[in-house]
Symmetry: D2
Amino acid sequence: MGELTSYRLSEIGEANCRIWGRYSGKLDPLALFWTGSGIEWNVQASELWVDVETDYDCHEQWMSVLVNGAHVSRQMLPKGRSEICLFRNMNSQETKTIRLMKDVQAMSDDERACFLIHGVRTDGTFHPVEPRAYKFEFIGDSITSGEGTIGAKKEWDWISMFFSSVHDYATLVSEACGAECHIISQSGWGTLTGWDNDPRHALPLYYEKVCGLLKGERNLAYGAGEDYDFSKWQPDAVIVNLGTNDMSAFDQPEWRDDKTGQTFKQHKDEDGSLIKEDAERFEQAVVGFLGKLRTYNPKAHLVWTYGMLGSPLLRLIEHAVLTYRAQTGDENVAFVLLPDTTSESVGSREHPGKKSHEAAAQVLTNYLKAYLAAK
Amino acid sequence: MGELTSYRLSEIGEANCRIWGRYSGKLDPLALFWTGSGIEWNVQASELWVDVETDYDCHEQWMSVLVNGAHVSRQMLPKGRSEICLFRNMNSQETKTIRLMKDVQAMSDDERACFLIHGVRTDGTFHPVEPRAYKFEFIGDSITSGEGTIGAKKEWDWISMFFSSVHDYATLVSEACGAECHIISQSGWGTLTGWDNDPRHALPLYYEKVCGLLKGERNLAYGAGEDYDFSKWQPDAVIVNLGTNDMSAFDQPEWRDDKTGQTFKQHKDEDGSLIKEDAERFEQAVVGFLGKLRTYNPKAHLVWTYGMLGSPLLRLIEHAVLTYRAQTGDENVAFVLLPDTTSESVGSREHPGKKSHEAAAQVLTNYLKAYLAAK
Amino acid sequence: MGELTSYRLSEIGEANCRIWGRYSGKLDPLALFWTGSGIEWNVQASELWVDVETDYDCHEQWMSVLVNGAHVSRQMLPKGRSEICLFRNMNSQETKTIRLMKDVQAMSDDERACFLIHGVRTDGTFHPVEPRAYKFEFIGDSITSGEGTIGAKKEWDWISMFFSSVHDYATLVSEACGAECHIISQSGWGTLTGWDNDPRHALPLYYEKVCGLLKGERNLAYGAGEDYDFSKWQPDAVIVNLGTNDMSAFDQPEWRDDKTGQTFKQHKDEDGSLIKEDAERFEQAVVGFLGKLRTYNPKAHLVWTYGMLGSPLLRLIEHAVLTYRAQTGDENVAFVLLPDTTSESVGSREHPGKKSHEAAAQVLTNYLKAYLAAK
Amino acid sequence: MGELTSYRLSEIGEANCRIWGRYSGKLDPLALFWTGSGIEWNVQASELWVDVETDYDCHEQWMSVLVNGAHVSRQMLPKGRSEICLFRNMNSQETKTIRLMKDVQAMSDDERACFLIHGVRTDGTFHPVEPRAYKFEFIGDSITSGEGTIGAKKEWDWISMFFSSVHDYATLVSEACGAECHIISQSGWGTLTGWDNDPRHALPLYYEKVCGLLKGERNLAYGAGEDYDFSKWQPDAVIVNLGTNDMSAFDQPEWRDDKTGQTFKQHKDEDGSLIKEDAERFEQAVVGFLGKLRTYNPKAHLVWTYGMLGSPLLRLIEHAVLTYRAQTGDENVAFVLLPDTTSESVGSREHPGKKSHEAAAQVLTNYLKAYLAAK
């Protein structure tokens, strides 16, 4: 082991860093917003430490580390700034691929929540990171946030510990296809409203921003609220997995904003079927979001997926996807049903567990590989 | 064991028989044309014999027997008429469900090929057969004929032995969904042409007939060439699995009819891409077939599937399905990609093996269950 | 296809036939006694028919056919003599390995039960059959007879249909190790007594004969009762799977021979534990059988296995094996526990199903491969 | 979340702590020596922090945390004393089972290596920990240390990161059987010598001590070198998995102690077979160790296992086990072969990976469950 030297990320250089997840473009520090965000290096060294900083009111940060693709650690991060050793005592002649992942989703209701990477300390040198063959963007709710992929089946606490992007179908699909990925996700949110009819909890509203659903001065200072520069990273496919919370809204009471008195509610008929106008405004939300996705991702294959927690809206979503297609003439869009979660594959918090994410990833990987290989 | 009595099928009565597969409506004898065709009884008896007759020039018939849903026998049938014991020595008080399956596809090039059921001999009585919850029709090529689902991987002979409908995805999906099924399939055939550019080898050409691709006086006498009466058995879903041979045609030499001098050929460009006009006439064949299917099956969900032997035409087929939808306003149609066959899941004759059919069946079962459950 | 010629087995020649299972040494006809018995050829032909003869009072014969190792047919055989086509229409230049298996155990209570192979008819020629690397003999009860490896879970009829040696662990282990195998088995029988305390139903009593538990003039005429010539086929391992019925005897009423008045009974104490003397006479039966096996198989590795239907006698059997070892100094003997059958792996008649046999085969294959590779 | 209060372990009380692994009997602090060592609480709280201290010259410590049996974190521990949050923000009314595991083996060549637990800080209360149904002690080498169960296949560094007791067969067997376990293991060590012929690297030499292979003042101060009090925790089974390094010694050069000039070497003949005297002294080491194990564990079932990295010594070990049995009359001992590692199941450092440990655990679980259930 040689002498350790400290580097800021800008000193390592963008060519030697793969940034996972949307970011503001600033490196010193790098603010990680979304789950699955992180940084990857090819480093020839015997030892590597990372200088991180986190904060929160309520929901602490968790970090996973992958060494040469293997998941070797996952830990709750202390509040404040700390230096954490990612590896030590390794062969200094060998180049390792080290990937550090934010394992918890952006927490929209915790204004202080943040995760910053200030730099590293190492005895080695960094080598360039080659772009992967494909780029995928995943957009979804708690399923895509990997909620429930870790923890005992009996758990019901809604806490950071039980979120993990490592076991998430988005990560599994990306690894299987050799793709880089961005994940845009929020537990409880939907296409038109959140699970509780709250119309502010619709992911399309925030799509143009780096991480528009985050609040708080610091997150704003690090660029969460800025317009995202789509030109930097144009995905080959955008995979949306929304609808599960839109369905819940039909069964939940009316949402009411105490300040403004504004209300919202998706309704069912007395016979339990969805009221036509409400079904249609959900469909319009799907159509509208596809249009927005196309605006910002002109060449991407758009794929709407659904079904990991049941599929009552299957026909509506299929119809909406094809309505978008018919209205726009945009043919580069498809719907893929994902397998439902079973008693065997369920995880904590009655959410899809690892086996469910693996099954979904297999179907989606098959589809994306075939689609991208076809002419 | 009591005295055995002989019955013609009409004596057993239609209410006590489930006929699998399209048939002409005549029972004495029952002519089985398509693979997966057969008959099923609920019989309270200790012993049951079936009186069958087969013929062929080249391709002999094989029969599988399922006792209470378990596949207990599969055998090559002798040429001519014979009486075969399906079970004996069983508890005469128990009612068994006995299903006899034709395990080999309709053989369009063997005019003498036929499989007739004349009746049974038993010491017991027959009980009514309840309709299953769903009805599915599957239309395809060698994949749907179960070619390669049985036999050693090294086999290359194109013989009846290596066809089996028992292990076919169509049968697996139907069992998993609690559905009755009809299979319409022919090895080497396609949507527009056969694998060899022969335009007569397109399944849509024969769809209206009971089993229009069969020739020979006897098959005609048993009704193979008659118009099929679609009103008797309206499917909930029609699943098409064609395209694999349409792709082959692009790589095969021109077909030429020696008698008429007629020729046909699908072309590739010098760079290996499909020539636009030829791709379009394939797409038109897909669109046209969907229209024909809708004509005869007004309420069925139409599902075009593809991919078990690669998916180079994926985008064309998706496009054609959506073109049909746009042109007709018929929304009750979808495309589902099936998983490709791997070195692990391949069977004999480089065709999908049992594991490949199981994987395909899982994806298709997920889709159909979810679709049929959604509103 | 050329002209078909008939051959008796002696005309094919022993070098061109692999005989599976113990037989009397006579070929014209070959009488198959035990389950898994059969014959195998390497035949270069387009077509092959076999001339078989069966008889029975009660339990009909079933035959399985393997083509190049793949199980392509299984059928109930007609009573009397018949000619059955094993394959036709195949490439006449290719040599196929064809194996015909008796799929039903020797039926000790059916004096007329027999299965004879008289010869074949083919257009081809036979090539020599190479000996396999190992020879294994399996000795057991219904488990080793493959009872329950086929048929629906709900079946309770004790009939030939639900026996199969193809799916039997003995066959699976032999295939996995590249071994020839003989199976000596009888449903309901044990080491000391049958399940019902009948002391005549102990497999060791008949071990020296070709198939000593068969009765009836014809079976005797074909050599079932003759001394078996152990010198012809010395196994590398003898695997015993007995004990399950010996345990049942402790829970069953006394056996009584109505003719002689002889009685027998294994007893439990009032607290449910085995009475010491009865446990000991079971152990002595194990010790004695091991001694007999050694006498006839001087170099074989003796392996007592147990556990596929529970293992209450585990300690007694382990103790007996080691007592044999201590008393004789014979170290070439071992005990291997097999995995128990679960609700997932159970077959028909509450017996081990295919999955259970596969699990047992894996453990036993591991053991035998490791033992035979070690010095 | 209430006010947090600090507790030393003695304040929590032994009845409220399950100590995993051998320890000196002292709680303040608790020194964890062997891999899989740790502590478990049933704590009704919203938040829990642990106060740990580690040190090392070379090999850092790793800790895993299980919450209600689920493995939620694994992390490299900082050198020195630190407070680490195990959970926070949970439902304060629910009682959680929290288990903290030392994930790295005792490091015999790192005198400063230590892992101490000083206490906790929490807002909740501790409830009694019920003893598990069984107690198992596992004794082995790198396999039993879980070396290679984590990390990429390509890894070759011998570092703490690639050791894990969580995925170890010893842990898996214990969970499946509902057993507490102690693990006594050291990478590279054997029964008679280490892999390099070093006769000091034999686990039997240190069996009587708490953790006799550790050196250094601090470890001694915490009791590593004390006689272990076997009376506190008598195992139902002691499972030894040694022999793999004893075999390596036959292929390695002579060991030589530079200080004393002492040498040691296990030899092969010119034909590659083991020299008889050397094979015998290995066998005597096995016999001797079994005797020692019996001395300290009078009622335990002794099980020698072997085979996860090949089994060339299978016959020698089987023979040695039975020699011990014959010489002593002690019948409570058995040999169980474990499945070999394959290219599918291998992990990092060419050691058994997770799948290999799972396969071994299944065989051993079957055996132990059956043995413990039998009379």
